[in-house]
């Protein structure tokens, strides 16, 4: 029988994969995608708790997280384009100063 704990553990593992991607990788795009993975892991635990408590608030939070993620993706990718135009590199270590 699948219980709340199963979904929470799946969520924790996906979040850990996202953190490993952010910490371990140097490619700008992979770091960006790892952040999306972490957002989705949190969404999964929201929906699991909403089903467990038989309430709908968790679904609303997921809806809001998706809206914020869409905005973040648009602005983040615009910044990635600017960074790549400035330095011709995708290595996060090359962007250690805010000034271009």
């Amino acid at each position: 029988m699948i219980s709340l704990q199963h979904f929470l553990i799946a969520s924790v593992l996906l979040f850990a994969v996202g953190v490993a991607g952010v910490v371990g990788r140097k490619n700008l795009f992979i770091v960006f995608m790892s952040i999306e993975l972490m957002l989705n892991a949190v969404n999964l635990s929201f929906v699991a708790f909403a089903r467990f408590l038989n309430q709908l608030d968790g679904h609303i939070y997921v809806f809001l997280v998706m809206a914020v993620a869409a905005a973040e993706a648009a602005i983040g990718l615009a910044i990635v384009i600017l960074l790549f135009k400035g330095k011709e590199s995708l290595n996060v270590d090359d962007f250690s100063v805010m000034k271009q």
Partner: protein, 167 residues
């Protein structure tokens, strides 16, 4: 029984897709395995009878956001030498994973000590449907919903401002 098999299958595909994403050298391959991971996650939402969220997951994440990422990757015209900055994938990601193991272990142990979390029976046949969630959203979270529209407008204006330095 079928639920159990489906859960383990979807969770394995989701976490496996995530692992493939963070170990790819080519960003495009990573984006495609990200789609696989998000599709499996959408299946998990469907297992939790969250119809609206399952559809939105495919539409917004696997559709819009990943499409945007793929579009930008292709727009940037990344060459091979841009990707070879001496990234040793196995040591880097491996060390990160090993460093995370204690944290994950503590959290999993804490989850294991929770009281039994069997899901209660559904309150009605339409739990999580578009109509129910939509009514709930407009009745209890109207202000937040309007704030989201402001956020999206600000994001749109911000992107234009970033992309066009001289207006």
């Amino acid at each position: 029984m079928l639920t159990t098999i489906l859960f383990y299958l979807l969770a394995a595909v989701m976490i496996g897709g995530g692992c493939v994403t963070i170990t790819r050298k080519q960003p495009l391959a990573a984006a495609l395995s990200l789609v696989v991971s998000f599709m499996a996650l959408s299946g998990l939402y469907a297992l939790l009878t969250a119809q609206l969220i399952a559809i939105l997951q495919i539409l917004v994440y696997a559709g819009a956001i990943v499409a945007l990422i793929v579009f930008v990757i292709m727009l940037l015209n990344v060459r091979e030498q841009d990707l070879t900055f001496h990234e040793e994938l196995v040591p880097q990601v491996g060390v990160a994973a090993i460093a995370l193991l204690p944290v994950v272990g503590v959290v999993v142990a804490a989850i294991g000590r929770l009281p039994a979390g069997t899901f209660p029976p559904l309150t009605g046949p339409d739990y999580g449907s578009i109509e129910t969630v939509g009514m709930f959203l407009y009745q209890h979270y109207t202000f937040v919903f309007e704030l989201v529209s402001v956020l999206l407008t600000v994001a749109l204006a911000g992107v234009v401002l970033l992309a066009k330095r001289r207006i």
